[in-house]
C-alpha cells in the first residue's frame, strides 16, 4: 500500500517543485531524471508485490470502495506505469544530455509521470479522467516545447483534438455513473451487465472513441502525423512511448476489463479497424522521407496490432495486446529519440528499433509479433494473418528505406533535411547517445530473454480474463 | 404582526422589483442608443435587483436576509461601475449617442 501511495507521491511532489525551478539548469534536469528513476524503483517494488501477492488495493480515506476512490495496482496497471516511466526517464535523460531549452520541461515530464501513474493505478472511472487530464495537459505543454512555428502548430492540433477526445471521455464517464450508479471499475463491470444494451453500448462507444483518438487509430489518426513529426524528438518519444499508452491501456482496461460484453459484441469492428490501421499506417509510411513522419505513420500502423489483439481477445489475445503495447512503446521511444542524434552507435540503435518494429529477432519486437500471430491464428482468420504479414512487410520496407537514407546515404539526405523541425544540427557528443543505446540494449535484451516481459503480460492478461470471466454468466 | 408587515413589505418589494426588471428589459429593447439603454439597464441592475434582494425580509431567515444584504451592498458598488465602463467604451468607439 505504501508503495502504491509513494508511486503517486514521489513524482507528484517532485514535479510540483521542479516545475517552478529553472529546468535549463543541468542539476534540475538530472533531478528530474533521478525522480523518475526513483519512481521506477518504487514501481518496481510495487510490481514485485503485485506479481507475488496479486493486486494491491487501497481506498482513499479508508472509506468503503466506491465512496472513496479505489486505487488498485494490478499486473496490467503496473506494467504500463513502469513502461511509461522508463520512456519518460529515457526522454528526460536525452533532453538533459542535449541541454534542456525550456524551464519547465523536467518538471512537466515528472508531472506527466505522476499523472500516468495515477491513471494506470486507479480503479475509479472518474479518477481515471482526472489523471488523464493531468497527463494530457502536461503533454500539451510539452508538445509546444521548442516554441518554433512547427511545434506550436503541433501543439494546437494536439491539444484541440485531444481535448475533444477528453470531453467525449467525460461524457462516457457521466453515462457510466448514470447507468451503474457507481464509479468504481469493479462495480461498474459488474453492474453494466444489467444495463440495457442501448445504454451500455452508448457508453462503450464514448470510451472507445476517446481511446482511439488518444491512440491515433485509423480513422481517428489525422492529428497524429503532424504532431509527432513536428514536435521535438524527445517529446515525440514521450507522446508515442508514454502518452499513447493511455489509449492502449484504456482500451484494455475499459474494454475487456469493464465492458466485457460490449467488447465481445464489437470484436469484428475492432479487428477491422485494427487491420485498417495496420495497412493504412504502413502504406502511408512507405513514402515518407522525414524519419519523424515515417515513424508517426508507423505508430498508426503499430497500434493496429494492439487493437487486433484486443479484438481477438482471450488470454492469448490480451497478453499479445499488452506485450505488443509494451514493445511498441519502447520501439517508438527509441526510434523517435534517434532522430535527434547521429553517429554509428545511433545507427545501430536505429537498426535495433527497426528490427523490433518489423518483428525481426533478436530484437524484442519478434516476441510481440509472435504473440500477435498466435492470437490471429487462434482467431482462425487467414485474412487476418495475411494482413499482419503485409503489415510487417510494410514496416520492414519503410523502416529500412529511411534507415538507408538517414544512415547510409548521408549526402542524399542533407539536401532535403527539414530545417524547421530539426532546429539544431543532430548532436554528436557520445554521451548524448547514451539514452538511445541503453534503450536499444533494452530491446535486444528483451528479445534475447523475453521471459519476464511475456510473464508480466500474461499476468496482466489474467487480470483481464479474470474480470471477463467474472462478468460472464 | 411584525411577520405580517414583513410579508407585505417583502411581497411589495418583490413585485416592484420584478416590475422594474421587466420595464428595464423593455427599455433596453426599445431605447435607440447605447447611453439610453444604459439608463434602462441601470433600472434593473440598481433598483430592480435591490428590490428583489430586499424582499428577502419576508423569509425571516437570518442567513437569507444577511446574504441578500451583502448582495445589495455589492450591487450598489458594482453596477454603476459596469454601466460606467460600458458608457466609456461606447464613447471611445463613438457609438454611444442616440441615432437622431
Amino acid at each position: 500500500m505504501t508503495a502504491l501511495s509513494l508511486s503517486l507521491l514521489v513524482p507528484w511532489a517532485a514535479g510540483l517543485l521542479l516545475v517552478v525551478l529553472d529546468g535549463r539548469r543541468r542539476t534540475v534536469g538530472w533531478l528530474g531524471a533521478v525522480t523518475l528513476a526513483a519512481t521506477i524503483a518504487v514501481l518496481g517494488l510495487l510490481a514485485a508485490d503485485v506479481l507475488r501477492d496479486g493486486a494491491v488495493e487501497m481506498v482513499t480515506g479508508g472509506w468503503p470502495a466506491g465512496v472513496g476512490i479505489v486505487l488498485r495496482a494490478d499486473a496490467l496497471g503496473v506494467t504500463f506505469a513502469l513502461l511509461s516511466c522508463i520512456v519518460l526517464l529515457a526522454a528526460a535523460c536525452a533532453e538533459t544530455l542535449l541541454g534542456v531549452g525550456q524551464r519547465t520541461v523536467p518538471g512537466l515530464l515528472v508531472l506527466l509521470a505522476a499523472g500516468l501513474n495515477g491513471l494506470f493505478l486507479t480503479g475509479d472511472v472518474f479518477n481515471f479522467y482526472v489523471f488523464f487530464e493531468m497527463s494530457m495537459i502536461a503533454a500539451y505543454v510539452l508538445t509546444g516545447y521548442g516554441g518554433g512555428r512547427a511545434q506550436l502548430r503541433a501543439a494546437v492540433i494536439f491539444a484541440s483534438v485531444n481535448l475533444l477526445g477528453s470531453f467525449i471521455f467525460l461524457l462516457a464517464v457521466a453515462g457510466t455513473y448514470r447507468v451503474t450508479g457507481t464509479l468504481a471499475m469493479d462495480d461498474v463491470a459488474e453492474r453494466i451487465r444489467e444495463v440495457p444494451p442501448n445504454a451500455a453500448i452508448a457508453v462503450a462507444v464514448g470510451f472507445f472513441v476517446a481511446f482511439s483518438v488518444k491512440l491515433g487509430l485509423f480513422p481517428f489518426h489525422y492529428w497524429l502525423p503532424t504532431v509527432y513529426a513536428d514536435t521535438r524528438p524527445s517529446v515525440a518519444a514521450v507522446l508515442s512511448g508514454a502518452v499513447a499508452n493511455i489509449g492502449a491501456y484504456g482500451l484494455l482496461r475499459f474494454g475487456p476489463g469493464v465492458f466485457a460484453e460490449q467488447i465481445r459484441l464489437s470484436a469484428t469492428v475492432l479487428v477491422v479497424l485494427g487491420a485498417a490501421s495496420i495497412v493504412y499506417g504502413g502504406v502511408l509510411a512507405v513514402a515518407r522521407r522525414r524519419p519523424a513522419e515515417m515513424l508517426a505513420y508507423s505508430a498508426i500502423g503499430q497500434v493496429g496490432y494492439v487493437l487486433v489483439a484486443v479484438g481477438v481477445g482471450g488470454p492469448v489475445g490480451f497478453a499479445a495486446a499488452v506485450l505488443y503495447s509494451v514493445v511498441n512503446a519502447l520501439n517508438k521511444a527509441l526510434l523517435f529519440l534517434t532522430t535527434a542524434v547521429r553517429g554509428p552507435l545511433v545507427a545501430g540503435a536505429f537498426v535495433v528499433g527497426a528490427l523490433s518494429v518489423a518483428g525481426v529477432p533478436p530484437a524484442v519486437g519478434f516476441v510481440g509479433k509472435l504473440a500477435v500471430f498466435r492470437s490471429a491464428v487462434d482467431a482462425g482468420s487467414p485474412t487476418l494473418v495475411v494482413l499482419l504479414v503485409v503489415g510487417s512487410a510494410l514496416s520492414l520496407l519503410y523502416l529500412f528505406l529511411v534507415y538507408q537514407r538517414e544512415f547510409w546515404a548521408e549526402e542524399d539526405r542533407d539536401a532535403v533535411t527539414d530545417a524547421e523541425t530539426r532546429d539544431t544540427a543532430p548532436a554528436r557528443g557520445v554521451s548524448r547517445r547514451v539514452p538511445v543505446v541503453v534503450l536499444a540494449v533494452l530491446l535486444l535484451a528483451g528479445g534475447l530473454w523475453p521471459e519476464p516481459l511475456v510473464a508480466v503480460s500474461a499476468a496482466a492478461a489474467d487480470v483481464l480474463t479474470a474480470s471477463t470471466n467474472g462478468a460472464g454468466p | 404582526m411584525m411577520s405580517v408587515v414583513l410579508d407585505v413589505a417583502g411581497g411589495v418589494l418583490l413585485v416592484v422589483g420584478l416590475l422594474l426588471l421587466t420595464i428595464a428589459l423593455v427599455g433596453v429593447l426599445r431605447m435607440p442608443g447605447t447611453y439610453s439603454q444604459l439608463h434602462a439597464q441601470g433600472l434593473a441592475t440598481g433598483p430592480g435587483v435591490i428590490c428583489v434582494l430586499a424582499s428577502s425580509i419576508a423569509t425571516e431567515n437570518a442567513a437569507t436576509i444577511s446574504y441578500a444584504a451583502i448582495g445589495i451592498v455589492f450591487t450598489v458598488l458594482t453596477s454603476p461601475v459596469a454601466a460606467h465602463a460600458i458608457a466609456r467604451a461606447a464613447r471611445r468607439r463613438g457609438a454611444g449617442g442616440d441615432p437622431r
Binding site: - | R30, H39, P47, I70
Partner: protein, 160 residues
C-alpha cells in the same frame, strides 16, 4: 484610528454575515481576519484622516444613503417613463465637480450610477469634470444645478 476600527468592524461583520453565525469563535475569527486584512491594506495608505473628521463624515452617512435612496426612487420613475414612452431629449452634460479626491470621484460615480437617470460616461480627474448622460438634456444648466445641490446636501459631508 476610528476609521481603522470601523473598517475592521465592517469586515468582521461581513464575515459573520457570510458564515451566518454569531458564535463567539466566529466573531473572534472575523475580528482577527478583518484586522489582518486591514493591516495588510493599511500599511501602504498615506496619512489617515483624523478621528474627528471621521466621526463627522460618519454622521453624514444617513443623509447620503437616505438622500440617494430618494434620488433613486425619483429617477427610477423618470426612467420608467422614458422606457415606456421613449426618451424626451437624451444628451450629454458636463458636470463640474471641482478638483476633488479619488474617493470623492468614486462617490460621485457610484451615486450618479445608482440613480438610473444618469450615466457617467467619462470623467476628467485633473479638471474635476464629469461627462454625464441624461435622458432629458434640454436644460443642461438645470441638470448641473440639480446635481450640485445633491452633492451639497448628501455627499459633501462624507466625501468632500
Amino acid at each position: 484610528m476610528i476609521g481603522i476600527v470601523l473598517r475592521v468592524v465592517v469586515l468582521a461583520g461581513l464575515y459573520l454575515l457570510v458564515v451566518s453565525s454569531v458564535k463567539l469563535g466566529d466573531v473572534a475569527i472575523g475580528l482577527v481576519l478583518a484586522s489582518l486584512v486591514v493591516a495588510v491594506g493599511h500599511r501602504r495608505r498615506a496619512a489617515s484622516r483624523s478621528d474627528s473628521s471621521t466621526v463627522r463624515r460618519l454622521a453624514g452617512v444617513p443623509a447620503l444613503v437616505g438622500g440617494t435612496l430618494v434620488d433613486v426612487v425619483t429617477s427610477s420613475a423618470e426612467v420608467i417613463r422614458c422606457c415606456l414612452r421613449g426618451p424626451p431629449d437624451p444628451g450629454l452634460v458636463r458636470l463640474p465637480t471641482g478638483p476633488t479626491s479619488p474617493s470623492s470621484f468614486a462617490a460621485w460615480g457610484v451615486r450618479l450610477g445608482i440613480t438610473p437617470n444618469t450615466v457617467v460616461v467619462d470623467l476628467d480627474e485633473e479638471r474635476g469634470e464629469l461627462l454625464v448622460h441624461v435622458l432629458d438634456a434640454h436644460d443642461p444648466d438645470g441638470v448641473r444645478a440639480e446635481q450640485a445641490a445633491a452633492y451639497q446636501s448628501r455627499q459633501r459631508r462624507v466625501f468632500p
